[in-house]
């Protein structure tokens, strides 16, 4: 029982629990914020696993991302406050089976294989950040740049899809 283990289990449990809450609550804003806290707990797990840069990045990015999610939920759902207790699911049995089987399969994959020797120490946070930078702008520059371009393209495409078509704008 190490401290790391306890914290990892705690934040991991929180992440999964909030993940479940996402689909259990009727209030859409709560749903989006539950997802946010799930992601934040994952960020905390990263911090526990000594990936400082990634943890902080995850915590930062998800706050904005999930808040945007929240406003889209409010925009597009017929009952964002959840007062009607409307059922917004379908193929429930199938989904439960699929989710359960996916979970079991993943757990088997996790627990069965021999993961080999485990590394005990990691580079310091300063060094990690510097290494990551060199990796991104060195060996993996092409991948990194492609990812950047992909985001840009997706942003432009999404905006194009979303804006009012010209014909409608005219009237």
């Amino acid at each position: 029982m190490t401290v790391q283990m306890i914290f990892l289990a705690f934040f991991g449990g929180a992440a999964v629990w909030f993940g479940v809450v996402v689909f259990r609550t009727h209030s859409m804003v709560r749903s989006a914020l539950a997802l946010l806290f799930s992601q934040t707990a994952i960020g905390a797990m990263f911090l526990v696993m000594q990936a400082e840069f990634l943890g902080v990045l995850q915590i930062m990015m998800m706050a904005t991302e999930m808040s945007v999610m929240a406003i889209f939920m409010v925009m597009f759902m017929m009952d964002p406050g959840g007062m009607g207790k409307m059922d917004m699911t379908h193929q429930k049995r199938l989904s439960l089976w699929a989710g359960g089987i996916g979970l079991l399969a993943a757990l088997l994959l996790v627990w069965l294989p021999d993961w080999g020797p485990v590394a005990l120490s990691v580079p310091g946070a300063h060094e990690q950040a510097a290494d990551l930078g060199r990796e991104l702008l060195g060996r993996s520059m092409f991948i990194f740049q492609s990812a950047g371009l992909t985001i840009l393209t997706a942003m432009i495409a999404a905006t194009m899809v979303a804006i009012v078509p010209n014909a409608e704008q005219g009237k």
């Binding site: 400082e52 840069f53 706050a63 808040s67």
Partner: protein, 299 residues
């Protein structure tokens, strides 16, 4: 030890800001006013709006306070006087401040009031537009320091403060910081004349006291960030480091708080357009210029 010192100075700073804010809003300067007001808030009824989403309503101010305290944790007041010197301090500051948004959405949605709700969503738009203008100038600052650690960022300004090295970034950062702390003239989420208090409108009593305190902490954190990133932190002649930090942070916070008194509130649409069209271009240009300077003239 440094935690206690930082928290005590935080309390003193928050009080000083409350005095300044009172002057900026109500026009009279009173040194004891905020103390009475805070005490009086404790005695007032803390109403719970009917049909509120109580979890969010209660949690909003608290999360706001926690976010502010987290941000303060990475601000160095003097060499060694910092709660935690993270290797990713500058990024962590951002991460903490991002939860200001979450807290305001909760506080806006929670009380089931139209004004508060509009205010909360307004802040979402404002925040998304201005989060970029917080991150990108910090990127340029970190480029010069070759580190994300706030202590090293201050140390990198030994020769020349960043406000002179990258003035464009400074301006963008200050404007974005004011937007993030919803200070007038960028106070869209609690615009008195438009939303009658907005997110604050439904809070009373103790909850309002927490909300106000949290806001002061956030303003202090942002002023501290401005000083750390652009005004050389604790650096300065004659006086000890902590004194320079205190003077600079209070001066920046006072300027941020009082400038709104002399101009009308900005229009929301214009404000967002400015950020997306002008702000982000300027921030990118700033990064480029700083990169070129850093390569050509190593100061």
């Amino acid at each position: 030890m440094s935690i206690v010192v930082v928290l005590l100075s935080l309390a003193a700073g928050a009080y000083a800001l409350a005095v300044i804010e009172r002057w900026a809003v109500h026009g009279h300067l009173s040194l004891t006013g905020p103390a009475w007001a805070a005490l009086a808030l404790l005695g007032r009824e803390s109403l719970l709006a009917r049909k509120s989403d109580r979890l969010f309503f209660e949690l909003g101010p608290v999360l706001l306070l926690v976010a502010g305290l987290m941000a303060v944790a990475v601000i160095p007041l003097a060499p060694g006087l910092i709660i935690t010197d993270l290797a990713t301090g500058a990024l962590f500051l951002n991460a903490a401040l991002a939860y200001v948004l979450v807290a305001l959405i909760m506080a806006g949605w929670g009380p089931n009031g139209a004004y508060a709700m509009i205010a909360g969503w307004r802040f979402l738009g404002q925040f998304i537009a201005y989060a970029m203008l917080i991150v990108m100038p910090i990127t340029a600052v970190a480029m010069r320091a070759e580190s994300l650690s706030t202590v090293e960022i201050v140390a990198s300004q030994e020769q020349l403060w960043n406000v002179l090295y990258q003035p464009m970034g400074f301006i963008l950062f200050v404007v974005a910081a004011m937007g993030l702390a919803w200070l007038p003239p960028l106070d869209l989420p609690d615009a008195t004349g438009e939303l009658a208090g907005g997110v604050e409108a439904e809070y009373t009593g103790v909850r309002l006291a927490v909300l106000r305190l949290a806001r002061m902490v956030i303003i202090l954190a942002l002023a501290g960030a401005t000083v750390t990133f652009y005004l050389g932190g604790w650096l300065g002649p004659w006086l000890p480091g902590w004194a320079w930090s205190a003077i600079k942070i209070l001066a920046v916070a006072a300027a941020m708080l009082s400038v709104g008194r002399y101009m009308p509130r900005i229009r929301e649409a214009r404000y967002l357009a400015l950020s997306w069209k002008l702000g982000i271009s300027l921030a990118l240009a700033n990064i480029f210029v700083v990169g070129v300077i850093a390569l050509v003239v190593p100061i």
